[in-house]
């Protein structure tokens, strides 16, 4: 089977569909039991759940350090994680182009299974649709996720106050640069891998410290700038960021300088922004730095007031400028 290509017949519900599901998905996701029903039937503990969905496109589908399958699992796990939940169950919906190599599909599904295992989440339901060749760039994956919010550990954005620390769990923008490089748009400038990873194992360590975390967000599309502006506006916080404290790898900075991009708007797929009570910042930072993913974590700024939600970036020279949402898209400049 793995030498074959996906055809429209795989989507007709017959023997081929069954074979594709059984051989590619059910075995890897280990949901033989759930697959006997039309829906996964799951036990839900007391209290609140978190529920999210996201549809993933990635061009190309395989990037250094990341493929669309890994991204689709990590992305949804991360949305649950930064919402304060313990990720439990995922669904995976595939839209696949006719002619897509089964071998590549297997690689993608393997990456999903491996990524799910890191956080102890189970992929319990799925769906496949086959569409005409040349319409969607290979494969699109939707994942939905359910997580459980433990009552003793919830986020408290309403408690955000002056002095709270803004922490980022590592250098920003790696994913965006890895994608640009994979598209061949950077020549041989860099082979930096994407930072795509599930945040749950790292955040679990932070939660175990018992620190008062006000809020978390993962700076994906729109980058760190957008994540901070959203936090500031949604909760009426004035956030001040020290430009020189924001961790950025030299490769990312170099690409941005050459092309005229701003790394603050570059996507990361394995980073978290945490707003933490001032007194708890040191132990949160320590817990992060004890993990592989968080070893370059840094305090990048503070909440400096409440009221009008805005983000200020303080330069090394002490001048402050307002950070705004990205206007349109980032475009490479002339020279």
């Amino acid at each position: 089977m793995s030498s074959q290509q996906v055809s429209l017949e795989h989507g007709e519900g017959g023997e081929l569909s069954h074979k594709l599901l059984r051989e590619v998905f059910v075995s890897r996701f280990g949901h033989a039991e759930e697959s006997k029903w039309d829906a996964a039937r799951l036990a839900v503990p007391e209290g609140r759940i978190a529920l999210t969905t996201d549809t993933f496109t990635l061009q190309p589908l395989f990037v250094n350090g990341c493929n669309i399958g890994k991204l689709a699992v990590a992305g949804t796990v991360n949305d649950l994680t930064v919402s304060g939940a313990v990720p439990r169950y995922l669904t995976a919906g595939f839209v696949i182009e006719e002619g897509f190599p089964v071998r590549d599909l297997v690689t993608i599904v393997d990456a999903m299974a491996a990524e799910a295992q890191k956080s102890g989440v189970r992929i319990v339901a799925g769906d496949t649709k086959i569409v005409k060749r040349g319409t969607i760039g290979g494969v699109i994956i939707n994942t939905a996720g359910v997580g459980v919010i433990p009552p003793e550990f919830d986020l408290h954005p309403e408690a955000m106050r002056e002095g709270d620390a803004v922490i980022v769990s590592g250098p920003i923008g790696d994913h965006a640069v890895a994608v640009l490089a994979a598209r061949g748009e950077l020549g041989v400038m860099t082979d930096l891998p994407s930072d795509c990873t599930s945040l749950y194992p790292m955040i679990r360590r932070v939660r175990e410290t018992g620190a008062a975390i006000r809020f978390m967000r993962d700076p994906t599309r729109g980058g760190l700038a957008t994540a901070l502006v959203e936090i500031a506006e949604d909760f009426g916080a004035e956030i001040e960021i020290e430009q020189e404290a924001v961790p950025i790898r030299p490769e990312v900075e170099g690409v941005c300088e050459i092309l005229g991009y701003d790394p603050l708007y570059f996507a990361s797929e394995g980073k978290a922004v945490l707003i933490v009570a001032e007194a708890d910042a040191p132990r949160v930072l320590q817990a992060l730095r004890e993990t592989e993913e968080g070893k370059e974590a840094a305090v990048i700024g503070r909440i400096v007031g409440r009221g009008e939600g805005k983000v200020l970036l303080k330069s090394a020279l002490g001048s402050r400028r307002r950070v705004l949402r990205l206007q349109g898209m980032q475009l490479p400049r002339i020279c």
């Binding site: 005229g260 330069s315 090394a316 020279l317 002490g318 400028r321 490479p332 002339i334 020279c335």
Partner: protein, 377 residues
């Protein structure tokens, strides 16, 4: 994983943006600036003639930190901004023609024309407009699509003109008949002379463009000192390169010395890059060029030599456009350094990066975009 490069070069580069050094340099620049004010009763007026400097001065906070101490004036250094409106309109009309692929640098995409923009032509009229990083990418597209005409929008200064020439050389070597350039280029020296001779704006000295200087060298700016008695310092783009260049320039001003210094010697040579100049001169010759709101400046752009007319999009695809629609945009005064962006009544109200009325609000190198993003109160 730590992927930081540890080398002497990396250490030297880190120096260019070291924050502690930056604060020390700033203090020293301020000292000299105060001495200039004490002597002349006004801050020194220093013009940067490079869009990347405009952006860097704002982004690093240098401009803000020197508010009141030095008058930093943005000059005509943003290629998109200085391009004549009729040229912009013609490029948009060109894109709407059938069977064409328009390849362009990204910041042309949203420049407003009298009607629409390249982005609008792409989205609303289905024009095939593609953003590329280099004109060579456009040559590759032409080779891949022999049945389509591929036109690259050749906008830029001396930094860009040699790579335009290199693209023509590639197309020539490949024997491509479906590749052409729409030339709308600008030269730094003629526009600087134009500004100095117009006397519209008082300029004490110039922060000179590091990138252009890689091509024309320090020697390309000697006319400033020799003919106009104005000092200039060729500067890099990091915070400490900007501050140290301003320091040197203020020193020259206080000493009354009209000299041109190269403060970017790691990149800029005395004679620049003769090979790049030879390449551009092989295909192009200086021509009279229209500039936005400055009219035609003699010999201030480059266009195809007769022998290479087959690569000239203007001859292959004659486009007729009407007179540009006038707007209240004061971009023309901004690029000549006559007004600050926020003196324009449209700034930040009718004209924002989302809904730009003039090109200075579109390009990341434009004075209005830099002011909007970094310097608004």
């Amino acid at each position: 994983m730590d992927t930081a490069v540890r080398s002497p070069l990396a250490a030297a580069l880190a120096q260019t943006k070291d924050p502690v050094l930056a604060r020390r340099l700033l203090d020293r620049v301020k000292d000299l600036a105060e001495r200039f004010i004490a002597r002349h009763g006004r801050p020194a007026a220093i013009m940067e003639v490079c869009g990347s400097h405009t952006h860097a001065l704002a982004e690093t906070g240098v401009k803000d930190a020197l508010r009141g101490a030095v008058r930093l004036i943005s000059g005509p250094g943003c290629p998109v901004c200085v391009t004549d409106q009729a040229e912009i309109d013609a490029m948009i009309a060109l894109a709407e023609g059938q069977g064409r692929i328009i390849a362009t640098f990204g910041d042309m995409l949203r420049v407003p024309g009298s009607r629409g923009s390249l982005m609008k032509a792409k989205v609303e009229k289905g024009a095939d407009v593609r953003v590329v990083y280099s004109p060579s990418d456009a040559v590759r597209i032409a080779a891949e699509h022999p049945d389509r005409e591929v036109i690259f929008l050749g906008v830029g200064f001396e930094t860009t003109i040699p790579i335009l020439a290199a693209a023509v050389a590639e197309a020539e070597a490949l024997g491509l008949r479906n590749f052409s350039l729409w030339m709308s280029t600008n030269l730094v020296e003629p526009v600087m002379r134009h500004l100095l001779e117009s006397g519209e704006v008082r300029i004490d000295g110039f922060l000179l463009p590091g990138h252009v200087a890689t091509v024309i060298g320090r020697q390309g700016f000697l006319f400033l000192a020799e003919e106009y008695r104005k000092p200039g310092v060729i500067a890099g783009f990091e915070v400490n390169e900007l501050l140290s260049s301003l320091y040197l320039l203020l020193e020259l001003l206080l000493a009354g010395r009209a000299e041109v210094l190269n403060n970017y010697p790691s990149v800029v040579r005395e004679d620049g890059n003769p090979a790049a100049r030879r390449l551009m001169e092989r295909y192009f010759v200086p021509v009279d060029q229209p500039w936005r709101e400055m009219g035609i400046i003699p010999q201030s752009g480059m266009d195809f030599r007769e022998a290479y007319a087959r690569f000239d999009a203007k001859r292959k695809f004659p486009v007729r456009v009407g007179k540009p629609k006038p707007t209240a945009c004061r971009c023309g005064e901004v690029i000549r350094g006559l007004i600050e962006p926020d003196a324009c009544p449209l700034f930040g109200r009718a004209c924002t990066p989302e809904h730009a009325i003039g090109p200075c609000m579109v390009s990341s190198e434009g004075a209005c975009a830099a002011h909007y993003k970094y310097l608004r109160a």
